[in-house]
Symmetry: C2
Subunit: 497 residues, 2 copies
């Protein structure tokens, strides 16, 4: 997902000046209140080299009373630390009630640098994720506020920053050999970070992605995330003490202008001309038919999920996907509203009934993701239910992959104008009119609410074992070829592995 995040976000000088001053005053006041209430706070700064951790930590602590916080810098473990379990040096530095610990890099080293450098085995990485989740849950249950920040820049931006530092004799020393190695390993880091986010983004200790190309944007976002989490905890404690009403959950959410976007960065101009379309389509379809037999022989189940805006072209896309397949090997399952029997069961039950057996392909035209889209937006389930669903869905997909399934998920993205064009076209074309319902127009009105739900879905359910692929679908030809080629590539890779 990280490669899709829109890193071009900026905030102007004047806007920043005005905004940050308020946030500084707020943070200082909150720090005092946290001390009174004896609430401990942990802020974790992680990020790519040269993403600006040092500068941004300085920004954050500027308005804070230095008697209350401690900045803990962690490099490679020293000899004393190496003789203990990896969490020891962090456990012993957890803050007392009313104090703040700001970690400049942290226990995530174990699943990032140590992992990329091959210092921990795959088993140790799995154990580390478990130990980290337990560690953070234990502290959160005890009343700690935990804010985890991932500072992100593009590979190009990282190169630019290193070059700039090295050009100046006064700063050249700051670029170490490790930094340059890390730059070369940018893609490996990215893969490790993706897995880290999927494994350790929890309700009690969530990650905030900080787009750090623009220092001002990054600072505003960090202040907002830290302040939001502090305010939420204070309100929770005050409510428990009978001093105020329970805090709304949105209190902890970032304002829209600061939250990360995956969809905003999608390049919808991508397209194919007819010749290339036909050529690549045929080639991929032929390849997929070969793979269909191969997975049958190898007994691998394949799950393919289609989601997308109304009129994004799911139907036509699926038709091209299966056009050349042996119908005994696949099934297309269209998903609508649940019936009465389905409603009486767990919402995942009806999807379990449809799961492919080993050696077969099931294509879901819409899916369990309805829970966190339409059911969330329309209020068909409670907030608790859809919030829980991210984890439940990830676990269900993980259970499939434990069994050896290939799970592929496609989000068909179009923009609002393109949707309107297609709606108008459907209205005007007699044999397409049945496709357009009043619901489509109604959903279109709620584009904003759906977009927010989709962004969160893409972020929370893109896991290494079952990642989302964003399909730029303004050009249907491009979209069809992209899905087909992605399916072929992924299945072929899995059969090799």
């Amino acid at each position: 997902m990280l490669e899709n995040i829109d890193l071009s976000r900026k905030i102007g000088k004047d806007e920043y000046k005005k905004g940050i001053e308020d946030l500084r005053l707020k943070l200082a006041a909150l720090q005092r209140r946290l001390t009174e209430l004896k609430i401990p706070v942990i802020v974790v700064f992680e990020g790519l080299s040269a993403a600006g951790k040092g500068t941004l930590i300085n920004e954050l602590i500027l308005p804070m009373d230095p008697r209350g916080f401690q900045v803990v810098s962690t490099g490679a473990p020293n000899e004393e630390e190496r003789l203990r379990p990896f969490l020891w040096r962090y456990w012993t530095r957890t803050p007392a009630g009313g104090r703040q610990a700001i970690f400049d890099r942290s226990w995530y080293r174990r699943v990032l640098a140590d992992r990329v450098n091959g210092e921990v085995s795959p088993t140790e990485v799995r154990q580390a994720f478990e130990d980290i989740r337990n560690f953070e849950r234990t502290l959160a249950d005890d009343g700690n506020v935990i804010v985890k920040l991932w500072l992100h820049i593009s590979r190009k931006e990282q190169a630019r920053r290193f070059a700039k530092l090295r050009d100046n004799p006064a700063t050249a020393w700051r670029v170490t050999k490790d930094d340059l190695t890390a730059h070369k390993q940018y893609d490996e880091y990215l893969a490790a970070v993706e897995e880290m986010l999927a494994e350790t983004d929890t309700d009690q200790a969530p990650w905030t992605i900080v787009e750090s190309t623009d220092r001002r944007f990054a600072a505003m976002k960090i202040f907002s995330a830290v302040i939001g989490a502090m305010e939420h905890k204070i309100a929770e404690v005050e409510c428990r003490q009978g001093q105020s009403a329970p805090p709304p959950r949105e209190a902890v959410e970032l304002p829209a202008e600061l939250s990360s976007s995956i969809l905003d960065g999608v390049d919808l101009t991508l397209s194919l001309d007819v010749d290339e379309y036909i050529k690549r389509l045929k080639k991929a379809q032929t390849r997929l038919r070969e793979l269909e037999y191969e997975i049958y022989i190898r007994r691998a189940p394949v799950v393919i999920v289609y989601q997308g805006w109304d009129a994004a072209g799911k139907g036509g896309n699926i038709r091209r996907l299966v056009e050349n397949l042996d119908p005994r090997g696949y099934e297309v399952v269209p998903i609508g509203a649940p019936n009465d029997i389905e409603k009486a069961h767990h919402y995942l039950w009806r999807f379990w009934m449809q799961m492919p057996k080993a050696g077969h392909i099931t294509i879901f035209d819409r899916s369990w993701y309805g829970r966190v889209m339409v059911e969330r937006v329309e209020g068909f389930c409670t907030e608790g239910q859809w919030k829980r669903a991210y984890r439940e869905i990830n676990e269900m997909e993980q259970h499939m992959t434990h069994f050896g399934a290939v799970v592929l998920k496609f989000w068909l993205e179009i923009d609002k104008d393109e949707q309107l064009r297609r709606f108008e076209d459907r209205k005007a074309t007699p044999y397409k009119q049945w496709k357009l319902t009043p619901d489509d127009w109604r959903n279109r009105e709620m584009w904003g609410a759906y977009k927010q739900a989709i962004e969160e879905m893409l972020f929370r359910t893109s896991t290494p074992q079952a990642p989302w692929t964003i399909v730029e679908s303004n050009c249907k030809w491009h979209a069809r070829v992209k899905v087909l080629e992605t399916v072929c590539k992924t299945i072929a890779q899995r059969l090799k592995g």
Copy 2:
């Protein structure tokens, strides 16, 4: 822990007749109420072969309306099932709202029979535990009542039952080859069951151990566990609908006369005469000194925890343990009430500060288990805090063992009479008087409450990687030798493994 559970529990015929009739009426009424409230119920029967699952399932369903429940028998998976992830056949059989599914064996097959028969790899076992925990949590979060029963009999009782069945031509067919193989593998099953209990005993889907030597006792316990869980959920739902007060947590706990006991089965007559004591003590002490050097060279950390009743002999036991050791290699850490700085941190923090480094031994004279004993019984922490602590403690110890630590925990058990004798002795002996405080007499008054807390502690925190050893300590000589020999044996094994 299972080998310590008191399996001799019985209920007389008359008492049973009177009690079971009430329970049957209650269960029938509850079933109707569950249907009204659309609450789904899952009851899992697992247990050793010949433990009486069939008979006891029949007992349970007797008073129930057959239109509401379904008994799901699961043997080896059929071909359709083998082509799907192992939870598929259970997911598709989860009950609708208002219905009950009674599983005669279940998804635990994967971590019991399949595991013992070597059909799943160690990695698959780990994944299965994770998948099972997620499965049950997902269902519980959706409102399912989940009751899991482990029917337990001794190896001897199992043999007796098989023999009886085989003696009678009408029942001989019921003892299959698989059963006889399972009997031979009794110890391997036991180890698998211990790990299963440790990995999957959760707040939302707890295990109940059913001592099944006596059918009447087993039936009473099963009815009580099922009824307790149903009542608790109904009260919870009614409370949410504003119809009643929130249910007390104890509602779901079994009455004392039915709850499992580890301590009641301990043989406190075990003793040594002086010659054997001296001989074995010296031998073990010499061996431990050799091992102390070996763990130093091999960089293994060792954590030894002592807990026990007041005057159980912890101090003298520790002195014999370290008598012959090189003092540079070990440390004894006595644990009392926390100081102010310790109180301002997470309760585990002060123990983290004391954890041994690799190659060293730390002996805790009392420990983090204070949280679930004295702090629980005296109300020094909230119910939520001590209930949470079982899991937090298990996770901390697991983190140590991930690092390669050997974790040993000893419960020094004496009976109430022996404690009194020792208190009187301390009172009468001038140089021992300092050992006896008013607190000791006060704690003695609360023997019952402490016993309940200790039983639960032993059950919930005995894990395969960090098991409790019960030390029969009425005879101090026996106790000292048992600890020393257990320490030697465990360290030697770990160094080999």
